[in-house]
């Protein structure tokens, strides 16, 4: 039977852990609010941009548009997979699910050549040691990704696609569904699938529509990368918050159990002592 001191020490250690998880939960929930705001703030532009894009495409004439390099559908022999993980762990299954999904993608595409572009330390640490092709890595942006980060990555992806180094580009990231759920999402961003929903208005164009598209399409890619970054940042904080919340609850349960056990041990030793005293006394009679 463990001694009282051992149990007490154990309880103290669990209490310390609980304090840490509770603090982490609060930090995560504060950051979540900020990350969520950024996701919401980014929505109006995304909505307007896809409407604008649809209008410009309609005006340029879909047949012409299909000849643009970013819409070039080729046989998928070389695939670029962009894996967006977090820089930090302690977020439940957040990173594990992403890595699993990426591995599954690799397993499904053994006939093709898949190259990984890794964003976030967790994904990098996992794949760096494994026999996969890696085109590059970015770390240190998962917490507060900026527009400039997204543009930099988008430029690289577009460069590789137009140079013919890869035939398609996919993103894998966690989408922020709600505070309690994140969904691993696989999204193809290149070649671009044209959005529908043109308003059908007859616009006066200051620049020829085709010329506008040449600038608009790369920006559209950057926008999608930014969206994925922002979603992932919010999902990360949400996952951490839930993970730390359940860790705090579990620690509480453990403390309760240990306290009960400790009391039982103490009671037992008191009882034993009383029996000893009583039987000692009766032996003297």
């Amino acid at each position: 039977m463990p001694s009282l001191i051992d149990i007490r020490r154990r309880i103290r250690s669990v209490k310390n852990t609980q304090q840490i998880t509770r603090a982490m939960k609060m930090v995560a929930s504060a950051r979540l609010r900020r990350a969520q705001d950024r996701v919401i703030n980014a929505r109006p532009y995304a909505r307007m941009a896809s409407e604008l894009l649809a209008d410009v495409v309609a005006a340029a004439g879909p047949e012409l548009v299909e000849q643009l390099p970013l819409l070039d559908v080729r046989e998928e022999r070389r695939i670029q997979l962009v894996l967006i993980t977090a820089d930090r762990g302690l977020a439940g299954a957040f990173n594990t699910n992403l890595i699993k999904a990426a591995q599954q993608f690799l397993a499904e595409h053994t006939d093709q050549e898949v190259e990984l572009e890794l964003v976030g330390r967790k994904g990098r640490d996992f794949f760096v040691k494994r026999p996969v092709r890696i085109s590059g890595e970015t770390t240190g942006i998962s917490q507060s990704p900026s527009q400039a980060d997204a543009e930099r990555l988008a430029r690289k992806l577009i460069g590789r696609f137009t140079a013919g180094e890869v035939d398609s580009v996919y993103l894998i990231y966690n989408e922020f569904k709600s505070v309690l759920s994140q969904k691993v999402t696989l999204k193809k961003i290149l070649p671009i699938a044209m959005p529908g929903g043109a308003t059908g208005r007859e616009y006066i164009f200051e620049q020829p529509p085709m010329q506008m598209l040449e600038k608009l399409l790369p920006e559209f890619i950057a926008l999608q990368v930014l969206e994925a970054f922002l979603e992932s940042a919010a999902a990360e904080q949400a996952a951490r918050m839930t993970a730390m919340d359940s860790a705090t609850t579990n620690a509480g349960e453990m403390i309760e159990k240990l306290t009960l056990y400790m009391n039982r041990v103490r009671q037992a030793s008191i009882t034993r002592e009383i029996i000893e005293v009583v039987s000692g006394a009766s032996a003297l009679e």
């Binding site: 980014a42 307007m48 604008l52 527009q147 208005r201 164009f205 608009l216 930014l226």
Partner: protein
């Protein structure tokens, strides 16, 4: 005839403005466009410059705009800017430093300096300073 226009300005990161305005002057790529209510539908690329809009109470406001697109219709203007800042949130010291740096690069171009890039930086800094001067 509509008396006002709904002006919306958004960047990829946030929505900056949603306001009814009497008129707006937009820095299009080929020069400034003045837009009044009942404008014909128009799509244009934006350049670098300042967006000036007049609120319903007659107050004029400035904003710096760097690249993007504008869509104007009879009752609305949508500005999709790559970067944009309200006049009161511009970092003047930073813009001045950028202006000075760009000026030096253009005046004494070192062999490895990209002059076109420096010119762009100069225009961005000028736009920000111009907007910031009208808080």
């Amino acid at each position: 005839m509509a008396a006002t226009l709904r002006l919306e300005v958004a960047t990829p990161e946030r929505l900056l403005l949603r306001e009814n305005v009497r008129q707006a002057q937009v820095p299009a790529a080929n020069g400034y466009l003045g837009i009044l209510p009942d404008h014909a539908p128009l799509l244009a690329e934006l350049g670098v410059g300042v967006l000036i809009y007049e609120l319903e109470n007659g107050q004029k406001k400035w904003m710096s705009i760097i690249g993007g697109y504008v869509e104007a219709g009879p009752d609305r203007i949508r500005v999709l800017a790559n970067r944009a800042e309200n006049a009161d949130e511009i970092d003047v010291a930073r813009a001045q430093a950028a202006l000075k740096r760009a000026n030096e690069r253009i005046m004494n171009p070192a062999p490895d300096v990209d002059v076109a890039r420096a010119l762009n930086a100069l225009r961005r800094a000028q736009a920000r300073l111009e907007a910031a001067a009208h808080k």
